[in-house]
Assembly symmetry: C2
Homo-oligomer: 181 residues x 2
């Protein structure tokens, strides 16, 4: 099953590399982003990993919810990986308007392997249809949860946010959910 | 099985995005790298994707073979992906000394999913041991071959190079193999 391998790949090839460095990245981001409002005044310093059950992924969070604005990127992390010199790992910072009317800074992104689930379900030769896709997303979420629970390097540096598509009628579902974490 | 999902992920999340742009990247690299020797005088303009059967991946090709030198990186490609703004995709250019004594330029890298196979075989809770790892690498190679054979966007822009570990005693096996392609 695809979910098991992609959950391990997402942990071993990404989260395990980037989560230990996240707090330092946020610190140096704040050093270069002094403005009228305090840097990261409100908002979690964890990586918010969005997992929509229907695998419908946007490339820009503000396309999903106009209470979300792209702010800037964290500084690049460059790591030599498998022959690629200085492969770049980075995260985007978003400013999210909460129901309290205040802005919350956060580092948020969709779990990239969900794009693979979505695209595989569109390719006939991949042998992976829409009905099993939702099941596989749920299995991916549970497997990833188990892996991260056992990971000392990643402890307390992330939140897995499962997004239910029953709320698709609420234009501010995503911002409300993010602020709730 | 893990190989099927990782082969599709490698194609849908990477090769399908980067291979169509590869030739243009090499052109603009040559425009900025005029030197005494002609740019890309000898050497393939395809992405050489190295697949060692034993999943033993180096992060720097020159660590494997001293007839290989890192030259420079191709220009960055920036693509908005799943909430990460301007995610960077790049490749490294290597100068490889052939048995003819001449330098060949090439864009080469290991198939990164093999790192997942290797790391999973080291984690007891992943349920993936060393004996099945070799089998899964071979299945990854065959699945990827089939996917790429059917891909119009990627046609003629890559070479899959399966590396057998029976040649581990030859310190120039990698450079000879690369020049052969
Ligand atoms: N958000 C996010 N930002 C990143 O920088 C990143 N890098 C990896 N990942 C995800 O982690 C997992 C492990 O990555 P790995 O490198 O082993 O496989 C990668 C790798 O083999 C190849 N690939 C993707 N991007 C690059 C890249 N920039 N350079 C080389 N190879 C790449 O294609 C596979 C699938 O990539 P994604 O489908 O984007 O998701 C990956 C994957 O689910 C990322 N996710």
């Amino acid at each position: 099953n695809v979910a098991h391998g992609l959950a391990w790949s997402f942990y071993l090839g990404y989260l395990r590399l980037v989560l230990p460095r996240l707090n330092d990245s946020i610190k140096s981001f704040c050093a270069t982003h002094q403005s009228s409002s305090p840097c990261w005044g409100r908002g979690s310093r964890k990586l918010l990993i969005l997992i929509p059950l229907n695998a419908n992924i946007s490339h820009k969070l503000e396309d999903e919810d106009d209470n979300i604005r792209f702010y800037d990127n964290l500084p690049n992390n460059e790591i030599d990986r498998a022959g690629v010199r200085g492969r770049v790992y980075k995260h985007s910072v978003y400013r999210v308007l909460g129901e309290d009317g205040k802005a919350h800074d956060c580092v948020a992104e969709y779990a990239t392997p969900l794009l693979t689930f979505y695209n595989m379900s569109q390719e006939r030769s991949a042998g992976f249809g829409e009905p099993e896709r939702r099941q596989q997303v749920l299995l991916f979420y549970k497997t990833l949860q188990n892996i991260l629970d056992q990971s000392l390097e990643c402890r307390n540096r992330y939140r897995l946010i499962l997004l239910n598509d029953e709320h698709d009628d609420d234009p501010h579902y995503l911002s409300k959910t993010i602020v709730g974490h």
